[in-house]
Symmetry: C2
Subunit: 467 residues, 2 copies
């Protein structure tokens, strides 16, 4: 039962240290089903805990010893202890979102232990609006953010009356697949994450590191591809980080973003980026730390980018990366939005002109930020290749339920790394665009104010679009 760990996952495990835990998180909010009593959160916790069979992904843990010749391997946890992994917690009064975000910040700041399977879930009660929250933490060696969303979608139901549904980590009975995670119009999952991983694994097994990535980076330095910019300004975000996290989350109706997009001929994702741009401009200016040139954001995109109107490939994994000029040096919201739209279009076009090998290499940028740093340093590149990561992962379009509890919001918690202290990840859910901002608590002070800035910026974009 010993399984080797593929090099990408190994990279995530080895890159991890106390200041840089390598787990992704998710905060889900559920509305109690009609008629549910005050004990619903406990029932949910018990259902999650007392799952009959756990999926193999959630039973294995990494192991390294002399017997494995120092290689990291997956071993099943022979003493699996579900109560270590599934937890029940509560918010102090008054049970606002503020208390919830504080708890999630703390939960996201602690590392997963290698001696156990690399995940935790906490059912959280005490929100004054009666909703029940769930925070999940999964090591990046197990899943990336997109896989985590699919895992979630796989286990939820579109039927509010369905019951006896297993926990997310339960072994799935062979249920019908509910529906594609989103549109499902074009089948974009030509290259699945598994394929990419395997290809990467092969490449890096041969070379000892992702060789194709190095070649792409070298090309970029010589400016042969516009998809990768190495001319990002230095900012306060691009420093070493500490281990403590701060998490902020909020959602806005997708309709508002769509409205701005329609009125300006841009995509929803452009609007997301414009919100981030305006918010970062205000934030940095307030701290007297706004660089003169534009911030550059790394944006993971779908492989078949032309057909996609969302940043991430619908139904597939976001496996490419585009470097987007956020236009933070521009004073006008409309100017910023159109700069982003152009930059995104350029990036996607150059991406679609790339060879599969180049795309595979680009994908490593999205999948392996932790691995990127050391590689860049080895290449003598000391400036940050980009300033922050903004990623938009499609979520379920229609209402989804877990044993009758409606999923009303899902907010990603991502991985700040040394040199990249802030990560913004959005996902759509139940008609809302849910933003999750994860930052190093020390390097990104007053992270919560970004929520207000995002809100202000959406209003400014609406005014600029004449709405």
């Amino acid at each position: 039962m010993v399984n080797p760990i593929d090099p990408t996952a190994t990279g995530f495990l080895l890159a991890e240290n106390r200041n840089m835990p390598m787990h992704v998180g998710g905060l889900q909010l559920f509305e109690k089903p009609e008629g549910a009593g005050r004990g619903f959160a406990r029932e949910m916790y018990e259902q999650m805990r007392d799952v009959e069979q756990i999926a193999p992904l959630f039973l294995k843990h990494p192991h390294r010893s002399a017997r494995t010749a120092g290689q990291l391997v997956w071993l099943p946890d022979e003493e699996f202890d579900v109560e270590h992994h599934v937890r029940h917690s509560a918010l102090p009064k008054p049970g606002r979102v503020r208390e919830l975000l504080e708890l999630c910040s703390r939960l996201h700041s602690t590392r997963l232990a290698w001696e156990r399977p690399l995940w935790e879930a906490t059912i959280i009660e005490g929100l004054r609006d009666g909703r029940v929250a769930m925070y999940t933490k999964t090591h990046h060696a197990l899943v990336d953010g997109v896989s985590a969303m699919r895992l979630l979608a796989d286990v939820l139901s579109t039927d509010p009356d369905e019951r006896d549904m297993p926990a997310f980590w339960g072994k799935q009975p062979s249920r019908r697949r509910e529906e594609p995670v989103s549109d499902g119009g074009a089948s974009l999952a030509d290259v699945s994450a598994t394929t990419v991983r395997t290809a990467l694994a092969l490449a890096s097994e041969a070379a000892g590191m992702p060789g194709a990535l190095i070649r792409t980076l070298n090309k970029s330095v010589r400016n042969e591809t516009s998809a990768l910019s190495l001319y990002a300004p230095r900012t306060m975000l691009n420093q070493s980080i500490t281990g403590s996290r701060r998490f902020a989350a909020q959602d806005w109706p997708v309709e508002r973003l769509r409205g701005v997009g329609k009125a300006t001929g841009t995509t929803i994702n452009d609007v997301v980026l414009a919100m981030v741009s305006g918010a970062m401009r205000t934030y940095l200016a307030d701290l007297d730390a706004l660089p003169e040139t534009s911030l550059i954001s790394m944006v993971p995109v779908g492989l078949n980018a032309k057909q996609s109107h969302l940043a991430s490939a619908d139904g597939g994994n976001a496996v490419g990366a585009v470097m987007v000029q956020l236009g933070t040096h521009l004073a006008d919201p409309a100017d910023r939005l159109s700069a982003i739209h152009r930059s995104m279009k350029d990036g996607k076009e150059s991406l679609s002109a790339m060879t599969p090998a180049q795309i595979l290499a680009m994908s490593a940028l999205g999948q392996a930020p932790a691995i990127l740093g050391p590689i860049l340093r080895m290449q003598g590149i000391v400036r940050p290749p980009y300033n922050l990561i903004v990623s938009n992962v499609p979520g379920p379009r229609t209402p989804h339920y877990w044993n009758g509890a409606r999923l009303t919001g899902t907010y990603p918690l991502s991985i700040p790394i040394n040199g990249m202290a802030l990560n913004i990840t959005c996902t759509s859910c139940d008609g809302k665009m849910c933003f999750g901002l994860t930052g190093c608590r020390r390097t990104v002070p007053h992270l919560q104010v970004l929520l207000q800035h995002l809100d202000d910026e959406l209003a400014a974009l609406e005014r600029a679009a004449g709405l």
Copy 2:
């Protein structure tokens, strides 16, 4: 403002790893003052957080760099962030002690970050009996368990009407010392912890390790002193541990223990040890893991042991260590109690016959369990020198208050280490003997059942004593 870290504290810092965090914890339970509203926990949290000045002990953090030539030094935290250290949490319903212990287990399992001062405190609301709990975590490099108790006593008041009291980590105004921590009859603090530390520090600076300890250990192997036994049986407790903790706590009226002691001519501490002995016997037998020979417990004692009727030196620090045969191989509770009484008496006598240098060396056993392991291995000693640590730290005898909130219980959370997976520490408070059991979650399964066994054993001792 760079201060070198003394070698003992350095030892605690360097011995620490993911599986073996080196912090001590405390769980305090407070009764709300009369007339306090539902928001009392929040008020307490805010008072604790909004402290005007933090004591220097709680502002320094360890640092090591090329500039300090690789030496660990204390640096003030220039970006001290009180909200990282003082936290507010809640228990899920029904808010029993069980939920409290689960939360404390989790809080005690995570490490303190070196980039910040080495402490955390969490105010916990939601106990159904209305009490407010506080869990504190302090690195062993800052304080030992006894100092932590003194810190607590220093900041509490015997006056229920006193208000405007600072947080525990606040800078103390020069208040009168309330009263000695306990009896205060004999002045036993002849050698304070600081003195010991300094002496140890000097010795180990010279030798690179506590040389006197090595000499004492060598003598013990040759059986020249009965205070140290190296003939403890192997048990399931004496294995490598994992990083996750389980904590159990309960209290019993000191009067009941005193009653047994009076009827049998033994001390309260003997009765504590007999409770532990009986409980461990039942626990290990249930797991089919009871060794044929007696478990041996390391018991920290006061230096002037003859004058003390408690295991720890009243008013001073517990700086010696006695190895006590717990008599777990004996079937009868009365037999176990008298075996313990004899063994404890022998140990104390041999301790009082030791030279100051030997006593200093013994003290390292109590103060530096983490340092002990590697040293033992270096000496080729592979059997555990003892099976578990049982320590009894005197707490306040009279009711104490923090801004009117009465301290009704205080339960220590200690440090399991590799080879010593369970630690039992007791402290008296408000007429109760409060037990805190801290174990490795994996190595010590079903830790909670020990509470029932302790309870059963006290009843059995009472019956045996004809009470």
